[in-house]
């Protein structure tokens, strides 16, 4: 019953979204407000219908209704409820439903929020957003129906892949999807601006907050994915340059470039074409990413490919590219800005270099990802382009970006005076050089590490200097206390200082990445019970092997004691989980995580009688800094997007304090 009802609801929703798009365009072209109002209602109805479909599938999942094939494939009777809920996005059909739901939700929000303000462009914004929603609904209605019935009805479901039955599964995909779908909003505004010819900066202002929030979610999703991977997968790493991982990274890169280069357009009305290209690229890369995940043409751990769906997504990608690039070409003449720059040494130049580096990294990742396919097409052989390649080419580019992060915010717009440069850079450069020299004295000799530290210290120095001088100046002029001045400063120029905090977070993460990869120590040893191994300043003793039954699997684990000298520090229990329908076991990592280093252990192989076990132990210095950096980035974004009303309240309160 749910099967037919659900499918029917999706079909209705598809019709509704097509109507919403068509009526909006018709109403806009003929100027008929009744059609426009009707189309807006259709947007809301569409959202209600997709929500209903979502509830139906969730209901089926929670009640373990295995007459629906998707439920049978993605949950079992015995799963915890939260994993039944998460089963919604466990594989293809359901993930498309989730995407469609978010798309319809964002459409409704945009329509509700902006209709009064931007009457000329809104119909087209709506049409584009609904068009995208219609595509996903179309896929579900005709190619990948989440409500397809199962025949015969199995007694119990197959369940989610055990790797996915963790709390992380409740967070990671949602964060990413919020980011992906979020980017469709500035894209829609950009397309609407192109269609209507209203190419002033309005569309940027409208969507700035959407873009930043979408970027926030995407950043959070990427960091969270790395953190999940590190804690769970058992190879000690967090990023494998897997094609689907790359597919989430590329829109992040162009999105970051867009956020920066848009600031130039806001101030100087330059780079209009470029910004449109950037947002088009960003959204196209989002679609490219979803295409990769669902087509399986590039092997990936993340892909859940099935059949003809891939072709449909490729078709949509082609449509998006041709449509948006075609529009840009069509309006190219009207987009030529009046580019003026007083001086080569200016923030504009720094931002342009920022774009070059970011797009360069994106191009590199893209090329590396599709190069095996290109090679196969041209040479007929299969090659791999994997971690060693990506690590090697991204390091220098990352360094360049790091340097730009220090320089960019402190050069003045337009023309940087010599005094400006001297004032802002001499101290941080000197401080960075001194700090790096200290490190050399302390024993750090690796060139890559020193370079990373030098650049990082420089950036931290510039940020610290900026905060310090501005706070001090403000405190002096307003008589506020230092902390109060600092807070007021953050709230007053939240974009600037939020941005600086984001940069700080990036630097922290980069230091974490650099140190944890350069100074990683790893040993793999086979031990008999009672034997010990040395790693760094620690001794790890293998005590014994144990096995136990868990509700869904059998767990085999090694009991390890970690000692420093002769004092026991902690006990660790790395193991392997054996699931009934999986051919190889899943690792169960156990590690001791600290702010300055992680002691990470894995059980590689073992003898069944417990006579020996091979364990791999790693010391990952400063790994936590990567996750801490991610949190700082999120904090910075929150500062930057604080809503205006709250800002006014807080500054009013600050002012009301005894002056």
């Amino acid at each position: 019953m749910i099967s037919t009802l659900g499918h029917f609801v999706l079909f209705l929703a598809l019709g509704m979204s097509l109507y919403a798009a068509g009526a909006a365009v018709y109403g806009a072209r003929t100027g008929r407000e009744d059609w426009l109002a009707s189309s807006r209602n259709a947007v809301l109805v569409n959202w209600c219908l997709v929500t209903l479909a979502l509830f139906l599938l969730e209901y089926a999942l929670i009640t373990s209704d295995f007459s629906i094939r998707y439920v049978a494939n993605n949950s079992t009777r015995g799963s915890l409820t939260r994993y039944k809920i998460a089963g919604l996005w466990g594989s293809l059909e359901g993930s498309i439903l989730l995407w469609a739901w978010l798309q319809s939700l964002f459409s409704a929000l945009v329509v509700a929020r902006y209709t009064d303000r931007h009457q000329a462009v809104m119909p087209y914004v709506q049409a584009v957003l609904q068009g995208i929603c219609a595509f996903f609904l179309l896929v579900m209605t005709f190619a990948a129906n989440p409500f397809a019935p199962s025949f015969p009805v199995p007694p119990d479901g197959r369940g989610l892949n055990p790797l996915l039955e963790v709390t992380d599964m409740l967070v990671h995909p949602l964060l990413l999807y919020l980011g992906y779908v979020g980017f469709s909003v500035p894209f829609a505004f950009a397309m609407a601006a192109l269609i209507t010819g209203r190419l002033s900066e309005e569309w940027l202002k409208n969507t700035r907050r959407w873009t930043i929030v979408a970027w926030l979610f995407l950043t959070g999703g990427i960091f969270y994915g790395g953190w999940w991977s590190y804690r769970t997968l058992g190879w000690g790493g967090y990023w494998a340059w897997d094609p689907v991982e790359n597919a989430s990274f590329m829109p992040w890169l162009t999105g970051t470039a867009f956020i920066h280069s848009v600031m130039i357009q806001e101030r100087k009305r330059m780079l209009k074409v470029w910004n449109l290209v950037l947002i088009t690229l960003t959204f196209s890369l989002v679609i490219f990413g979803t295409f990769l995940t669902r087509s399986g043409i590039l092997g990936s751990v993340h892909a859940f490919a099935e059949g003809p769906v891939g072709m449909v997504f490729l078709g949509f990608l082609a449509l998006v590219l041709l449509f948006s690039l075609g529009l840009i070409a069509y309006r190219a003449d009207r987009l030529k800005g009046h580019g003026e720059l007083d001086s080569v040494v200016s923030r504009e130049s720094a931002f342009l270099l920022n774009n070059v580096v970011l797009i360069g990294i994106c191009f590199t990742v893209f090329l590396g990802t599709i190069f095996p396919l290109l090679t196969e097409a041209i040479r007929g052989t299969k090659i791999s382009v994997g971690m060693p390649y990506f690590n090697r080419v991204s390091v220098p580019l990352g360094m360049a970006l790091l340097l730009l992060m220090g320089i960019g915010p402190l050069i003045a717009w337009g023309r940087a005076s010599l005094n400006n440069l001297r004032r802002n850079f001499v101290k941080p450069v000197v401080a960075a050089a001194a700090a790096t020299a200290v490190l050399v004295v302390l024993g750090v000799r690796q060139a890559e590490a020193l370079l990373a530290f030098l650049c990082s210290f420089f950036v931290v120095g510039t940020i610290a200097l900026e905060f310090w001088t501005s706070t001090r100046t403000r405190a002096a002029t307003t008589g506020e206390g230092f902390l109060q001045a600092f807070a007021a400063l953050l709230l007053r120029s939240r974009r600037r200082y939020g941005g600086l905090i984001v940069h700080l977070g990036v630097v922290v993460a980069i230091i974490g990445i650099a140190v944890s990869s350069i100074y990683k120590v790893e040993h793999e040893v086979t031990l008999k019970p009672g034997e010990r191994m040395e790693i760094g300043p620690y001794t790890v003793q293998f005590n014994d092997l144990q096995a136990g039954e868990r509700p869904t699997h059998i767990l085999v684990w090694a009991n390890l004691t970690v000692l420093k000298g002769n004092t026991p520090l902690t006990e660790l229990h790395p193991g392997q989980r054996f699931y009934p329908n999986q051919q190889s076991p899943f690792a169960s990592v156990d590690a001791s995580y600290h702010w300055n280093q992680d002691l990470y252990t894995i059980l590689s192989t073992f003898e069944r009688d417990g006579s020996s076990a091979t364990i791999k132990v790693m010391i990952n210095p400063m790994m936590a800094w990567i996750w801490i950096g991610g949190c700082v980035i999120l904090l910075g974004v929150l500062v930057a997007v604080l809503p205006e009303r709250r800002l006014a309240m807080l500054t009013a309160r600050a002012k009301a304090q005894p002056a």
Partner: protein, 174 residues
Amino acid sequence: MTWKKLLIPLASVPLILLLAYGFRTDPKAIPSPLVQKPAPEFRLKAFDGGEVSLAELKGKPVVLNFWASWCYPACYEEAPLLEATWKRFKEQGLMMVGVDIQDKEANAREFLQRFGFTFPNVPDPGSKVSIDYGVYGVPETFFIDRQGQIVYKHVGALTPALVEAQVQALLKGK
């Protein structure tokens, strides 16, 4: 709109075509560098106690099949075909060897019993043979001619038509 401007959207077409080409490729079908090269030698103790050495089989065509008990469903699908082929062609001089990789002995023996394999099967301790043959997964089958040259490598479950054609060709060859 001038033709120059059309270039901008058309620039995306080569990419789309390349991605479309991707549908025709199979990510699992990796071409082997061993085709048309001499088959690597091995000498292993079989499950039934005897010894199998490739060198001693020279002069006879050999079908070398890599399998595992956990390889479901492909190995289970092709197993009856292998046994049937063996029975049919062994009088004509065909030799068949199965190599069990990355497996536990108990499970392997169960697999052998289940399909009643009568041709020699060997476990591969240390995975030396599977590495020598560049085995990416199971099942993979190598067709080796009388001179000991690998003529063809098949990835995935075998089909009757394919096996028939390859074996006949091997038997006809010098």
